[in-house]
Every structure is written in structure tokens, then in C-alpha cells.
Amino acid sequence: MPTLTYLEAIRQGIWEEMERDPTVFCIGEDIGIYGGAFKVTDGFIDRFGPERVIDTPIAESAIVGAAFGASLTGMRPVAEFQFMDFIGCAFNQITNMVAKAHYRWGAPAPLVIRGPSGGNVHGGPFHSQNPEMYFVHTPGLKVVCPATAYDAKGLIKASIRDNNPVIFFEHKYLYRRIKEDVPDDDYIVPLGKARVARSGRDLSIITYAAMVHVALEAAEMLSKEGIELEVVDLRTVSPLDREAIAETVRRTNKVIILHEHVRTGGIAGEISAIINEEAFDSLDGPIVRLTALDSPVPFSPPQEEFFLPKPNDVVREARKLAAY
């Protein structure tokens, strides 16, 4: 099995889908000859030609609109956003035109909007955001946020095959930092299913994307103190895997929710509510949120580090909660 980075895995997933299915095509800014700002579509134009790897003007509403239109004819567009921070430029098109299409008039919209998100790369306020909650809060969309190379490939393939619009957030911190064995063949990871990234009996940490690695690092440290963390990687933040969330709480009775986006209105709130609904009686302590600060993402490294949740924060909160 070849060893691929997270980025290579996504690239391979899209490539394979384009080989397999002639209705799949890519559209976005600088994705052709340049291969995209992060090189996810490197070489695609050479293989698939400019017909299926379409460089567009800088016009995000047009990109999403055109992708949706093409999907109505039975195509499966994969639209790249150069940075997910710019998704607000297509917000109306995504949340009103695309997300509501199936409910209103029965039009499936099998399109994927994908691109890099996330911080810890000193990208500053406009190249580090995690805007996924806007879309989790919009019925009609699915929202996918892989944490590993294996999942990245399997989830992008599942997203392309899904008959619903999927917003696919690629964490740019992970693009080249994680590497693992990824099967060369055709597999998918189903949307809406979480995975237990590490089993533990003492307390659960529910998280996804880059924060999975923060949680795992903390789990390693805590394990030495005899505190065994269970790490749940959501993989898909919409739809959420309510069953997996409830199960882990029933097992450990204590839970930390960890996310990289800003605290207020974040996914931790939603998960708190779900736990209340599904497993209130299993709770032996308050649900703890560990999140970024309620501010834009600052640029300067010491500030960004302060802004983001770190393994030490997890360790500190886990100790407190374990002792509760």
C-alpha cells in the first residue's frame, strides 16, 4: 500500500472518480495549468483536458451557480474554493439556491464544494477560517471534514458519488503533515459515520479534522497518568453521527468537545444538546467545550497559538473533568 499525504489522498480520490465516471469534472480558480493553490489538481488538466478542468474568473457565485446548473443535467461537478474563507462570496447561492433545491422542487444537486480551511499555518484572518458551522446550520447540505489521509480519500469519493451537495473542508495544516498507507484501490468511507480514533474508558473527547491529532497527542500524555481518553473523530459534521456520540458518552460518562472554530454557536453546542437528548442520564460531569477564542484568527504565531486549542488545554481540562 503506498504512503500518501492527506493532500495526495484527496487528489487520488478525485482522480479516480474522474477516471471512473465521465460526468465528474473540476471547476475553480487556478486549478488548471497551475494545479490549484495547494496543488490538489496538479496534472489534472494534462490528463483530463481543459474541458473537464475548468479555470474560471474570480467569481465564486458564478462557480457555484455553474456547478449547480451542470449538476441539473446529470453532471457531478467538483468545485474548488481557493480558500474556504472565501465561501461567503457564494453564500446565497449555496444556502438558498443549492441547499434548498431538493426540498423545494425535488432537484438533486450532486455537487461537491471543496477547499482548504483551518489555521495553525499563520495564514491570518482570511486564510485560516473554519466556516463549517454556517453550513451545518443549513439543512440540505452535507459537511465533511476528514482528519486522516485514508478518510480523506474515502470521503471525497463518497462525497462525489452522493446525490446531495457536499461541502468538503480540507484542513490545510494536515495537507502535507500527515502521511499514511492508503489503499490504491476504490473504496469509500460513508458520510455520516464517525469513528473511534482511540478507545478509552475514562472520558470521551469528540472532535474532528486537525483537532483529532491534538486530541490523540493529549491522550498519549494522559495515558501516562492513567487517564484513558476515548477519541471520537466525527469525520462528517453534517449529518452528525448521533449514535456514535451517544455511545461514547454512555461508555465514559464524561465528555469534552474539542473544535478549532470559534466557540459561540460552534458545533460543541449542538453536540451538547444531542448528548442532553440522547444520554443525559449517563453524564457524570458537565460537558466541557474546548474551542478557539471568539475572535478572528490572529496572524502572529504566538497569538495564533494562544487562539487555538492545544494538547495541553486538553490535558488540563481532562484532568479536571476526570476528577469531577
Binding site: 490528463r47 446548473g69 446529470g74
Partner: protein, 428 residues
């Protein structure tokens, strides 16, 4: 700068653009072609004035100009003209029926009218082939009829019935059909359909077929940024979009003059490097001819066309709006240019394509159809409360997604499947 971009090898041939400058670039004067089909150019001015305690609009100018004749079509024969006329009648009478249903308290929410614009809706949609696509706006109920929806569909939408095309979930012209009638359901925010229709043409082209796709935007709605993004995208991608800019002088209560500084919205075509055309939107022959030529261009893979149709919204924004802000003389001026009355005169008196008896029969047929549809719609049930649930997502087995025009043929090219040597990237 690199001048006169050559057609990129992969995109369809870039046709000569009707609106490109014909004057040498060295002069500071540039000349462009804007095809103008009209037989008259209204000379009326609108201004905002203070009048005692209040501010209001006032018109001046040549308000008593004679009504122009219908311009004979280059393409339409007798039968087609009569068909279009029938659609226009159906459009108007259906809206009159909706107004009655509203007064009877049967309509949920408001009613939108295309009064005075029936010729534009019907004759434009008439230029499309069945396998081509249309994206209507709120006033293009006539276009929906031409595309094969029935008056009962629209009536049931307004009455929020279970049998409406959206099963009660949405209102007015907010419905579509990707199977048979190839109509994209609009959303309220204006301009968003433009890139969507461009995308439909892109999808078809990827499947090997250049089709015409048509949508509309108002003098107000064309101020939105997505209008610009969408039309520019269609232009650079050479997609067969036919965009009707329906300049009916008002965007809700706002006069067109407050949306833009230029004289004709067709001038905006210049900025996209695509053909711009002006028609009298109350003359279905002009509308059809311009639409037909634009569709033919689209089918030849020569890209989009912007057609400005000049007319007047003859009612308020919706049924709640008495349009008191519109100076009365403006209504009177345009009332004389009623598209149906003039087309009737053209067919019955000028061309004598319809005898008075045939005309009566045609009217009666429309009335009968509407009456039957009205009865059907009124008798149809409301949706159950529970029908609100479900359908937000396309679930397993709910739809099969397959290419509409044929599986795209894929050229096989050599290229390495793996990422090339690690290159420098934006933010590591």
C-alpha cells in the same frame, strides 16, 4: 497586454462579437453595435420632486406619441404568431383568474403579475427547443406555460395545494422540472439563475451538445453582482445563454433610472464583449426574432447574448402594491402599448390571419381551459401537515442522476497520475 485572445484550443470557437469595437484602438472613440429592433424610442423623463410635505415622482416628455405598429417578424409564420398570441392570452387571463382567486381568499400570500409583459415572456420562451432550458422569474408565468406547465400548476402553487409542482412547499413561479420541461426553479434573490443557466449549458456541452438556455433579469435585479459574475462567466466560457433583461422601468418602487446611469441596459453587453440587442418588449415579433437569433448563436456554440426588452410593469410589484408612486401618465402611455391589444390588431386587422370568428373561438378556448383548470385547482386538496417533513436530502433510491444528453465522451490523454515534485505552495 496580450490582445485579441485567440480561442483557447479547448473552448468552442469564439465567434466574432457583435459588440466589439470597430474603431481603431488608437483613437479614443470606440464604436460598438447595439442592434435595436424598436420602431419607437420613448422620450419620457422621470424625476423626483418635492411637493409640499412629500417627495414624489413626476414624468414629462412626449407622452402622446403615436403607438407604433407591430414589427413584422423575419421568422414567424401565421401559425406561430397565433400560437404565441394564444399563450399571451392564456398568460393574461390566468393572472386575472389568480386575481379573482385572491379576492376570494383562496390564494396564500400575494400574487405577482406580468401584465404588459406577456409578449416578452411568451415569445421569448417560444424560441427554445423542448430539450433546451429556461429559468423564469416571478413575472414569467407566461414562459412557464410555454414550457409546458399548465395554468392549474400555477394556480395550485398560489393556493399552496398538495398537487402543486412543489407539493405546497414553495409559491408562485418558484418551481421547475429537470425531467421533462427543463425548467430551473428560481429563488427570490435576483440574478442567481444567471450562472445556473450558464452551468446548464456547460453541462450540456460536456455531454456533447450546444444548447440555448434562457433566463430573465429585471432592470432592478440586474444590479446584483451575481448577474455580472454569471454573464461574464457565460461570455468567457462561450456558453449559449440568452439573457433577457426585462426593463419594465420599475424595480418594486424604484425607477430604473436609480439603478444605473446608462441609457440602455443593452449597453452593458459591451462590457462583456457579447452582442447587445434592444427590443420593444410589448412587440412579440421583435422579442421572438431577437430570441431566435440569440438561440441560434447559442446552438452554434458562439456564446451568450444580452437582450434588453423595454416595456412597463402595468401593476404594482405584487397584488398588495397599488403602485401609487408611479405617475399616472406613465401608465396611460404604456396602456396604449398593450401587447395583447396590439397583437390582436396585427393578427385580426393588419394580417387578417384570424377572422373575428376564429378570434372569438380562440378566446373561448382559452377561457374554457382556464375554467377547467381553475375548477381542478380549487377542488384539489391542501397538503397534510406531515408533508412538511422529509425531502431535505436526496435519499437512497430517490433520484437517479444521469447525463441528460449522453455520456460525455472522454479523450484519453497520457499524464502521470501522481503529484509532481513537491512544489512551493501557498501557506504550508
Amino acid at each position: 497586454m496580450p490582445k485579441k485572445p485567440k480561442a483557447r484550443s479547448h473552448s468552442n470557437h469564439r465567434a466574432s462579437r457583435a459588440s466589439r469595437p470597430t474603431t481603431p484602438a488608437s483613437s479614443s472613440q470606440r464604436t460598438y453595435t447595439i442592434l435595436d429592433y424598436r420602431l419607437e424610442r420613448p422620450r419620457i423623463e422621470l424625476r423626483q420632486v418635492r411637493d409640499g410635505d412629500t417627495v414624489r415622482y413626476e414624468v414629462s416628455g412626449d407622452l402622446s406619441a403615436p403607438v407604433p405598429p407591430i414589427r413584422e417578424s423575419k421568422y414567424l409564420g401565421k401559425q406561430q404568431c397565433i400560437e404565441i398570441y394564444r399563450w399571451m392570452l392564456l398568460n393574461r387571463k390566468m393572472e386575472a383568474a389568480l386575481e379573482n382567486l385572491y379576492k376570494q381568499g383562496k390564494v396564500v400570500g400575494g400574487v405577482y403579475f406580468g401584465l404588459g409583459q406577456e409578449g416578452c415572456s411568451c415569445a421569448s420562451a417560444y424560441a427554445l427547443e423542448p430539450d433546451e432550458w429556461l429559468g423564469p422569474l416571478i413575472r414569467n408565468q407566461g414562459s412557464l406555460l410555454v414550457r409546458g406547465f399548465s395554468p392549474r400548476d400555477i394556480m395550485m402553487q398560489y393556493m399552496a395545494r398538495a398537487g402543486s409542482p412543489t407539493k405546497g412547499r414553495d409559491a408562485s413561479s418558484h418551481f421547475g422540472d429537470i425531467q421533462k420541461r427543463n425548467v430551473v426553479a428560481p429563488i427570490s434573490t435576483l440574478g442567481d439563475l444567471i450562472p445556473v443557466l450558464a452551468g446548464v449549458a456547460l453541462g450540456a456541452r460536456l455531454q456533447g451538445k450546444n444548447i440555448a438556455v434562457m433566463t430573465y433579469i429585471g432592470d432592478g435585479g440586474q444590479s446584483t453582482g451575481v448577474t455580472y459574475e454569471g454573464l461574464n462567466f457565460a461570455a468567457v466560457q462561450n456558453l449559449g445563454l440568452v439573457l433577457f433583461v426585462e426593463n419594465n422601468l420599475w424595480g418594486y418602487s424604484t425607477p430604473a433610472d436609480m439603478q444605473f446611469l446608462i441609457e440602455d441596459l443593452a449597453e452593458r453587453a459591451i462590457a462583456y464583449g457579447i452582442p447587445g440587442v434592444i427590443v420593444d418588449g410589448t412587440d412579440p415579433c421583435q422579442v421572438y426574432d431577437a430570441a431566435h437569433e440569440a438561440c441560434e448563436r447559442a446552438r452554434r456554440g458562439e456564446g451568450p447574448t444580452l437582450i434588453e426588452a423595454k416595456m412597463m410593469r402595468m401593476k404594482g410589484h405584487a397584488i398588495h402594491d397599488a403602485a401609487e408612486y408611479v405617475p399616472k401618465p406613465l401608465f396611460e402611455y404604456w396602456k396604449k402599448r398593450d401587447p395583447i391589444a396590439r397583437f390582436e390588431n396585427f393578427l385580426v386587422n393588419v394580417k387578417k390571419w384570424l377572422t373575428p370568428a376564429e378570434h372569438e373561438k380562440l378566446l373561448a378556448g382559452v377561457d374554457a381551459q382556464l375554467e377547467a383548470d381553475r375548477e381542478f385547482a380549487v377542488a384539489s386538496p391542501m397538503p397534510t401537515p406531515e408533508s412538511a417533513a422529509g425531502g431535505t436530502y436526496c435519499e437512497e433510491g430517490c433520484h437517479e442522476v444521469k447525463p441528460k444528453y449522453g455520456v460525455p465522451t472522454v479523450k484519453s490523454r497520457k499524464a502521470p497520475a501522481t503529484l509532481r515534485a513537491e512544489s512551493a505552495v501557498h501557506l504550508k
